[in-house]
């Protein structure tokens, strides 16, 4: 009897909470223009605008959470938040652990940033990248010496202080830095790696994935996604 009452209460709770359930959006907050913390101390950037619009279209209440890049996947699968929306490229390796929505950016070319005028040997030099990124995996197999850092910011600092010859990262991240600083410049060489950026979800969260997939598709269809991509200057549109 007691079980029955509890069960009914639980059912009633589920029914009433179905409306107000909050989807927690996990991001890194250190990778402009994708995501960063603005002067107000809030999450901002391309993915903030995109995520808010997706939640609106999918009729979900969303809340933003920041988490360090290193532990962003373990904390998703253990349920501390429900999505990863952090400029994460879709790769087979990650797909084994989590699920991805369809990509919301085209594969963005990765670029190299080095000190202005430096002659960098990309096949045998020392290249910096953020730990656990597609760029780090690429450098590891290219023959160059890879040095890894836990934040994107540290990889840039490594080039400035001579620890690395160049840093490899998404072009959209490196370009504003190269534009505004005279001491560093982008190299001509670019690499096309990764399958575009998607939103990461738990493999057991099929419903939520379907909702976000539909929302992304509708943004692709009506051109709002392209407008956002152009606004934040991230790669080519769809």
């Amino acid at each position: 009897m007691k079980k029955l009452i509890l069960g009914t209460a639980a059912l009633a709770l589920t029914a009433s909470m179905g409306m107000t359930d909050t989807v927690r959006m996990g991001t890194e907050g250190a990778y402009p223009p994708y995501n960063f913390i603005n002067d107000k101390g809030e999450v901002d950037g391309f993915e903030r605008e995109l995520g808010d619009e997706l939640c609106k279209r999918a009729k979900l209440t969303c809340e933003w959470v920041t988490n360090e890049w290193d532990s962003i996947i373990p904390n998703l699968v253990s349920g501390n938040y429900d999505t990863i929306i952090a400029g994460m490229s879709i790769t087979d390796e990650r797909d084994e652990v989590i699920d991805f929505t369809q990509n919301y950016t085209q594969p963005d070319p990765s670029g190299y940033l080095a000190l202005s005028g430096a002659d960098v040997d990309l096949k045998g030099g020392i290249i910096a990248a953020q730990t656990g990124t597609i760029q780090a995996a690429f450098i590891a197999s290219s023959g160059a010496t890879l040095v890894e850092f836990s934040t994107p910011d540290d990889t840039i600092a490594a080039v400035r202080n001579g620890e690395a010859d160049a840093v490899m990262a998404d072009d959209a991240y490196l370009r504003p830095i190269a534009d505004e600083n005279d001491d560093v410049a982008l190299l001509d060489q670019q690499e096309l790696i990764g399958g575009g950026v998607g939103m990461g979800l738990r493999e057991s969260d099929g419903d939520l994935k379907a909702k976000f997939d539909a929302a992304i598709a509708s943004m692709k269809d009506d051109g709002t996604l392209n407008a956002l991509l152009a606004k934040w200057e991230i790669g080519p549109g769809f």
Binding site: K3, V77, G79, I156, R160, D179, E203, S204
Partner: protein, 298 residues
């Protein structure tokens, strides 16, 4: 425009020198930085007594006559002291969080027929989430903070237990024997004779532990709490004009120097306070320091 404390901060691009700096240092983002100092101090204020309590319990258990209890106390001290801190902070917290949710799940969702472990995923029913995913951000932050306090308390409690265990044994056996000769029970002798006298032996070890605890607070970020080191790193990093009204180059050195000053000042104040405490505890004790005090006064 962005809310700021001073009215002249509306257009930072035309500001210079002191005005620019005063606006820069009062952005809402910087307020988060200042606030995080409070978080760290609050953590210390709650964790230190909790760890001491864990330590006291652990030491009492370790020296209990009951074999099982004594075994438990000794295992706690040995295991937790042996596990690397970083492993403990990375895995234990997730395990603790999942353990709580697992218990909640069995308490409120007994009719749930899907498995909790699905491949890599850990999924409990929505009502068993702690805190509920519809709870306010504040509730999530407090929960994270509470997990951090418990984790710190368990780790530092094991070290404190070892120190207190040693301190209890350092109290001269003759003191206890005298107490028993006066007809005190085991319990009375423990609380009235042994405990008041053990602190003087424990304090050097405990003060060490306090210093280590202060230095260990940056581990907070591993637990998902935005502490002073996180904010110093985030705000010190080079900022491009495209994404902030206050672009600057790599200023991490200045932010970390501020933290250095904070930690040094804090440990110095702690040292002074602990020295005072030691003087007071040594008063009237049959130790070298207590004897020196007695001679100075006569």
């Amino acid at each position: 425009m962005i809310f700021q404390m001073f009215s002249y901060c509306n257009d930072p691009s035309i500001l210079e020198g002191f005005n620019w700096l005063s606006c820069y240092l009062t952005t809402p983002k910087h307020m988060n930085f200042y606030f995080s100092f409070g978080t760290v101090l609050l953590l210390l204020a709650i964790t230190a007594p909790t760890a001491l309590l864990f330590g006291f319990g652990g030491a009492m258990a370790a020296r209990a006559h009951n074999t099982a209890l004594s075994w438990f106390g000794k295992a706690y001290i040995a295991v937790v002291r042996g596990v690397p801190d970083i492993a403990f902070f990375l895995f234990f917290v997730i395990a603790l969080d999942q353990g709580i949710e697992w218990l909640m799940h069995h308490a409120v969702c007994s009719d749930w027929d899907e498995p909790i472990r699905r491949g890599n995923d850990f999924v409990v029913c929505p009502q068993a989430k702690v805190p509920l995913s519809s709870a306010s951000q504040w509730a999530h932050k407090s929960y994270g903070f509470a997990l951090a306090v418990v984790t710190f308390a368990i780790v530092f409690g094991a070290f404190a237990a070892n120190i207190l265990f040693g301190a209890m044994r350092a109290v001269p056996r003759a003191q206890i024997e005298t107490a028993e000769a006066y007809g005190m029970t085991h319990r009375q002798a423990f609380w009235r004779v042994l405990v008041p006298q053990m602190w003087v032996f424990a304090l050097p070890g405990l003060s060490n532990l306090w210093m280590v605890l202060i230095k260990a607070t940056p581990l907070l970020f591993l637990l998902g709490i935005e502490d002073i080191v996180y904010w110093a790193r985030e705000m010190g990093g080079a900022k491009t004009a495209k994404f902030t009204a206050y672009p600057h180059s790599d200023w991490r050195m200045w932010y970390f120097l501020t933290l250095l000053g904070f930690y040094l000042a804090f440990t110095r104040i702690s040292e002074i306070a602990l020295d005072q405490l030691m003087k007071r505890l040594a008063h009237g004790q049959a130790t070298a320091a207590g004897e020196a005090q007695r001679r100075a006064n006569t």
